[in-house]
């Protein structure tokens, strides 16, 4: 899922304080799982902004709302009215949702309330870790299910480097060495021989090197 973190409150306030009307709009899928951008968080942020407006003597009408996903047209149906009436929208979606809305509502300013941080998992309640960088050419099949693009700080494909110490990466004792994890996992799978195979130079044209990517299904 996509993980995001709410921007500092003062930064959000500075973005929106010049408007007379603002809709604080949640996205109830990925960013709701990390408790940063769901419809509930939109309600809370709207309340905090109302109190800030009161404290500063600024007159803004603030309403809140949200939908299940801000990156797909059909989900917007239930919110057409409120969004059409909005002078500005503070979106709690990831960067994808914010851009999707900006494209959809051409004359309405759409502000991001979140910093979109990474594609990750939920290790435990409230703890999210980065796992994939959408490189476009997945190598997990040969690395025992550990992503070297994301989890090796140097993105090595034939690791580890000389900095790997006691299973930790040289950049921080809190970061596991991805290549230690690859080796451990290949051992557990009984495939440690595969570690000897040299991975050829990766085709980065499938990553961001070729500009923004798209994918079209035939027959739709």
């Amino acid at each position: 899922m996509i993980v995001g973190e709410q921007k500092p409150f003062d930064e959000v306030w500075e973005m929106v304080k010049g408007h007379k009307q603002l809709t604080v709009f949640g996205c109830n899928t990925c960013v709701a799982v990390c408790h940063q951008g769901g419809n509930k968080e939109a309600e809370i942020l709207a309340s905090l902004l109302k109190m800030r407006a009161t404290q500063e003597g600024v007159d803004i009408e603030i309403v809140d709302g949200g939908i299940e996903r801000q990156c797909e047209h059909p989900f917007f149906e239930s919110a057409q009215e409120v969004l059409k009436e909005s002078e500005a929208v503070l979106s709690l979606a990831c960067g994808i949702g914010v851009q999707f809305m900006a494209q959809k509502y051409k004359t309405t300013p759409i502000y991001p309330a979140l910093n979109t941080t990474f594609l990750g998992d939920v290790q435990e309640d409230g703890y999210f870790t980065e796992k994939c960088q959408a490189c476009g050419d997945c190598v997990l099949g040969v690395t025992g299910g550990v992503c070297p693009v994301t989890r090796c700080c140097k993105r090595l494909f034939n690791g580890p480097c000389g900095g790997s110490t006691n299973g930790k990466c040289e950049i921080s004792k809190d970061i596991d060495c991805a290549w230690q994890l690859v080796v451990d996992r290949l051992e557990a799978l009984g495939k440690i021989k595969d570690y000897e195979k040299i991975t050829p130079v990766k085709d980065w044209s499938k990553d961001r090197a070729g500009g923004p990517r798209s994918f079209k299904l035939e027959g739709f």
Binding site: K40, E43, I44, S47, K50, M51, A53, T54, Q55, G57
Partner: protein, 86 residues
């Protein structure tokens, strides 16, 4: 029944910082669980114990019903403190 004058209204306009007037009392809202804290308050009432009039009690079926937004809405409407009991 709450008297009209005791109701906590939506703010009518923008609030500006003011000096604290003499005799000012904090406006407190208490969210109390029906089964324990509210029952205790009820018992206190039966025992003729009094509590200050600046505390308003809202009964919840359980304090698990309490949501962040209840607290925030109370503050938005000018409540000075929230007391959750359960």
């Amino acid at each position: 029944m709450t008297a009209e004058s005791e109701k906590i209204e939506e703010p009518k306009g923008l609030e500006t910082p003011q000096d604290i007037p003499d005799g000012w009392q904090a406006n407190i809202i208490a969210f109390a669980c029906h089964y324990c804290a509210f029952a205790a308050a009820d018992l206190a009432g039966v025992m003729r114990l009094s509590y200050p009039a600046n505390v308003k009690v809202v009964r919840l079926p359980c304090t698990g019903k309490l949501d962040q937004i209840y607290l925030l809405r109370a503050f938005e409407r000018g409540v000075d403190g929230v007391f959750a009991a359960g």
